[in-house]
Amino acid sequence: MPRPRRSGPRAPWYGKGMLLGLKVTAVEFLRTVFPHRGGLKILKPNPTAGAVTVQYPREKESPTPRARGVIALHEGNCTACMLCARSCPDWCIYIEGHKEQAPPRRPGGKPRQVNALDRFDIDYALCMYCGICVEVCPFEALFWTPEYEYSEPRIADLLHDKSRLGEWMETVPPFEAYEPGSEMKVPKVPPT
């Protein structure tokens, strides 16, 4: 059953709205082709500077320091406590470790028992990039880095082992300072 079509207020004369739309696109086009402002430079066309599109393989965007790109592992800090593996929502972290005797810190002391890390794998094919593992780590062994170029032709290669995760450590940016009014302390990235 068709309902009656109501009529609403329209533009004063037909076609005005369409011409206004054409003006918007024309202004946008001119802004893209002539992006320079001020003086005679305005006549110099430079569409590559005015365009919004980033020509990806040649130019690269730089993500913010907080961007969750890939997780870096600081192996020296990890004690294989399994907190990250247990709190992962899809259980994509695989950890194996063993206890071993380490030489004493000071000469004449008792030998220490330390947890050595045998295996630390993150399966990026499963990872949801939620950051819970980085947050729960009590020993500052996991860090986010904004790197994003690690796609692989084979899905099995997305399983990063501890040496590969350790390589990401060099790309971890320093933590940003906070906005005034914040009471938080800025953490530090440990040296690799």
Binding site: M1, P2, R3, P4, R5, R6, S7, G8, R10, A11, Y14, G15, K16, G17, M18, L20, G21, K23, V24, T25, E28, V52, P63, T64, P65, R66, A67, R68, S87, P89, M128, Y129, C130, G131, I132, E135, W144, E176, A177, Y178, E179, P180, G181, S182, E183, M184
Partner: protein, 390 residues
Amino acid sequence: MTAALDREQARYIAAQAADARINFEIETEGMTLNMGPQHPATHGTLRIVAKLDAEQVVSAEPIAGYMHRGYEKLSEVRTYPQVTTLINRIDWLGSFANEVPFILAAERLMDIEAPPRAQWIRTALFEMSRIANLVLFAGDTGLQLGGQTAAFYGFRDREHVLNQIEAVTGGRFHPNFDRIGGLKDDLPKGWIAETKTAMAKVRDFCDEIDDLVTGNEIFQARNRGIGVIPADVALSYGLSGANLRGSGVDWDLRRDAPCGLVHPELDWKVYTHPDGDCFSRWWIRIQEIREATRMVDQCLDGLPSGPIMAKVPRIIKVPAGEAYVETENPLGAMGYYVVSKGDLGPFRVKIRSASFNNVSVLSWVLRGVYVPDIVAILSSLYFILGDIDR
């Protein structure tokens, strides 16, 4: 085969027979148009089975469930911090807004309140996710009605907001930034100034899209008077958000039932439109983008100093009880009914999402419209499949 399925089958065959008899008697060829599941106007995979008589829709039925991911059931076997990750994916265009009601429900059960600074930042991010969502709507509606330019402008100007969300949360689409008792982190230095510039750019986008699309005669001809939903029908189908306000019902949870966010302290306006057609829903959403940019500016101006996290134990166990919290999300009213038995994770979570109810009105509103108007109605109702199927 069960008795119910048997009955369904019998009814289906009877309906087919009835259709055939009518077609035979009045000599018209009926046709069933199967729209979707992969139709670009459906924001995902919604299927609409429309029975046509020539160019008119006789009856239409939306069929959901092609993207069901079982979040309600998954939440039962996850801990509270892990659930936040999951529910980010419900409405993927305004993800931060999904987290807020769930976290507020858990906070209500634990009887804690986030510190004021966390509440103000939460409100700012909540409104920014609304902008990210609705700017894409503005572009996408233009695209579906045949104007590609609007889509590019929408995607371009959504970047400003997404970049700001990424700078503070680390994720563009799935922030996972809200924690029980506060927020994960504080704002980075210089973020407030950058966000204000981004908000000014979004306001420019609104003016641009008004000139480009709203005033366009073809756009008006395809939207005015199409898909009219009267207020009583909108209420009876449980519509919410801009779809309900577009039918002239003055109802906004941010103003009428605020909980945990600082909306009552801000200066803003709820827009309604009496027509109830596609154009009024479009117009209200554009005004809502403008109001949201104003709200973000006010949140950043009035940001109090202090901690961003209340005192919360490291391992979160929520005491036994039930809580329901509903907020006004970009798509409409979204609520979480959380039942806890004192464990690490919820015992049961019921998710009331806006799109599911908004789509249910399709079978009513599509009756009698012409085939090209289906797309205009679908895009103006504005649903997201993740929000329908969960």
